[in-house]
Amino acid sequence: MKKAIFSALIFQFCWFHKLFAQTGSPDFMRSVGKIYVVVAVIVTVFIGIVLFLIYLDRRLTKLENQIIEHDQNDN
C-alpha cells in the first residue's frame, strides 16, 4: 500500500516535470506574472488536506478493527 502511494507520487512528479519541460520556457514558474507559484501553493495546501484525510482514514480503520474484534469476543 505504502509502496503504491510512493510510486504514484514519484510518477506524478515525473509527469509534472515533463509538463514543465514541454512548455519550452526555462523559467516556467516565473512566466505570466509568476501565477504558477500561486498554483503550486494551492496544490501544496490541497496535498496537505489529503494527507490529513489519509491519517484520519487510518485511525478510523483501526477503530473499526477494534469494534470487529470486540463483537467476535462477545459471540
Binding site: G33, K34, V38, V41, T44, V45, R59, I67, H70
Partner: protein
C-alpha cells in the same frame, strides 16, 4: 445542520476567498524599463514594458514622469504607444541635477485614462558627469505630478517582485495566522484541563495541536515555494518562518512527550503543563527576532517583504475572511480527530 453552521461558514468563506482572490485582476503596473541607467545631458528613449495594461485604449495622451521626490519630477517630452503592453517614452535629462549625489535613482510614474496611474520605484538611475546642485536648480524644469486619473475598479496592488504571487497572501500568510489561532485554542484547552482534570479537554488540546502542526508544515512548505520565486531563496530569516519552525519543534517535542507516558491522567497533565510553558516562550520571539535581523543585516530595509501597512483595503476584504475560513477548517479537522479519540476511549472502556 444547525450544530454544524461553522463548518459551512468555513467552507463558504474559503470558496469566496478562492474565487474572488483568484479573479480580481492586478492593478496595471510596470514590469521593466530599458535602459535602466543613463547620464545627464542625454536625450533618452525609454522602452517600458507594462503588466495588465491597455495603453492603446487610452483616449487622452499618456503622461509620464521621472520622479525625484515628492515635490520634484521631470515630465516626458514624448510618449509613443507601441502596443498594449509597450511604450516608448522620451525624456530630456538636464545637464545638471539639483542634488549632490553622483548617482540618483528616479521612479517612473505613468498616467493613462484607461489604466489609471502606475509607478515603478527606482526605474532609472541617472549618473551625473559633474555635480553642481546650484546649476541643477537653474536648469531643472519642474513639472509636478498632478491630476492623476482615479480608477474605481477592484484590483490588487501590483508589486514588481511579487506580481501575481501577491494572491498567496490568502493561501499562505493566512495559514500562519490561523495556525497561531489554533495553537492558542490548544493552550486554552490545556489550561481547561489543569482546572478541571477532565480528559475531554486533553483530547481537544491534542486534536488542535495536530491540526495546528499540519498548518505549520503547510505554511513552511508553501512559504518556501513562494520565497524561492520572489526573494530568491527558500529560507530567508523571516520572523514568521522562524516562529513557525520553532513552534513545530515545540509541538514535535509535545507529541514525543505524550508518547513517553502510559497513564492517561499523567500524560494529560504533564503535556498540558509543557504546552502552556512552551507556548508562552513563543511570544517574546515575535519581538526578539526582528531586533536581531535589524541589527545584523543593515540592508534589511530593501527587503520586499510586506507588513500589515501594505495590505490595502481590497486585500483586507479577502485576507480576514481567509484567516477565519482557514481557522474554521482547522477547527473542523481538530473536531474530527477529537471525536475519533473519544470513541477510541469509549471502546477501551468496553473491553
Amino acid at each position: 445542520m444547525k450544530k454544524n453552521w461553522w463548518k459551512i461558514l468555513g467552507v463558504l468563506l474559503l470558496l469566496y476567498v478562492l474565487t474572488v482572490g483568484m479573479l480580481i485582476p492586478l492593478k496595471p503596473g510596470i514590469v521593466e524599463v530599458i535602459p535602466g541607467s543613463v547620464r545627464t545631458g542625454d536625450q533618452i528613449d525609454l522602452k517600458v514594458l507594462g503588466y495588465n495594461s491597455f495603453y492603446s485604449l487610452a483616449k487622452k495622451p499618456i503622461r509620464a514622469w521621472l520622479k525625484l521626490d515628492d515635490d520634484r519630477a521631470l515630465q516626458a517630452s514624448d510618449v509613443k504607444v507601441t502596443s498594449d503592453r509597450q511604450l516608448a517614452i522620451r525624456f530630456d535629462i538636464p545637464d545638471y541635477l539639483p542634488i549632490n549625489t553622483k548617482v540618483q535613482d528616479f521612479a517612473l510614474v505613468l498616467d493613462s485614462d484607461a489604466d489609471g496611474p502606475s509607478i515603478l520605484p527606482s526605474a532609472v538611475f541617472v549618473t551625473q558627469d559633474s555635480i553642481d546642485p546650484e546649476m541643477g536648480l537653474q536648469v531643472w524644469k519642474n513639472s509636478p505630478i498632478d491630476q492623476l486619473t482615479s480608477k474605481n475598479i477592484l484590483t490588487f496592488p501590483f508589486r514588481n517582485i511579487l506580481s501575481e504571487t501577491i494572491r498567496n497572501t490568502y493561501f499562505h500568510v493566512s495559514l500562519w495566522l490561523s495556525m497561531m489561532i489554533i495553537f492558542i485554542g490548544s493552550v486554552g484547552t490545556s489550561i481547561g484541563y489543569l482546572r478541571t482534570n477532565n480528559l475531554d479537554f486533553d483530547r481537544k488540546a491534542k486534536a488542535l495541536t495536530v491540526a495546528g502542526f499540519l498548518f505549520g508544515l503547510l505554511g513552511l512548505t508553501t512559504g518556501a515555494i513562494w520565497a524561492n520565486y520572489t526573494w530568491g531563496q527558500p529560507w530567508s530569516n523571516d520572523v514568521k518562518q522562524i516562529t513557525t519552525a520553532i513552534a513545530l519543534l515545540i509541538y514535535g517535542a509535545y507529541f514525543i512527550l505524550r508518547s513517553a507516558f502510559e497513564d492517561e491522567e499523567q500524560k494529560a497533565r504533564i503535556s498540558a503543563i509543557y504546552n502552556i510553558f512552551a507556548f508562552v516562550t513563543l511570544i517574546p520571539l515575535l519581538y526578539v527576532i526582528p531586533r536581531m535581523t535589524d541589527s545584523l543585516h543593515p540592508g534589511a530595509g530593501g527587503n520586499p517583504a510586506f507588513g500589515s501597512q501594505d495590505l490595502d483595503s481590497t486585500m483586507r476584504m479577502i485576507f480576514y475572511p481567509a484567516v477565519i475560513g482557514w481557522a474554521l477548517i482547522g477547527l473542523w479537522m481538530a473536531q474530527l480527530l477529537y471525536r475519533v479519540d473519544r470513541i477510541r476511549a469509549k471502546l477501551l472502556d468496553l473491553h
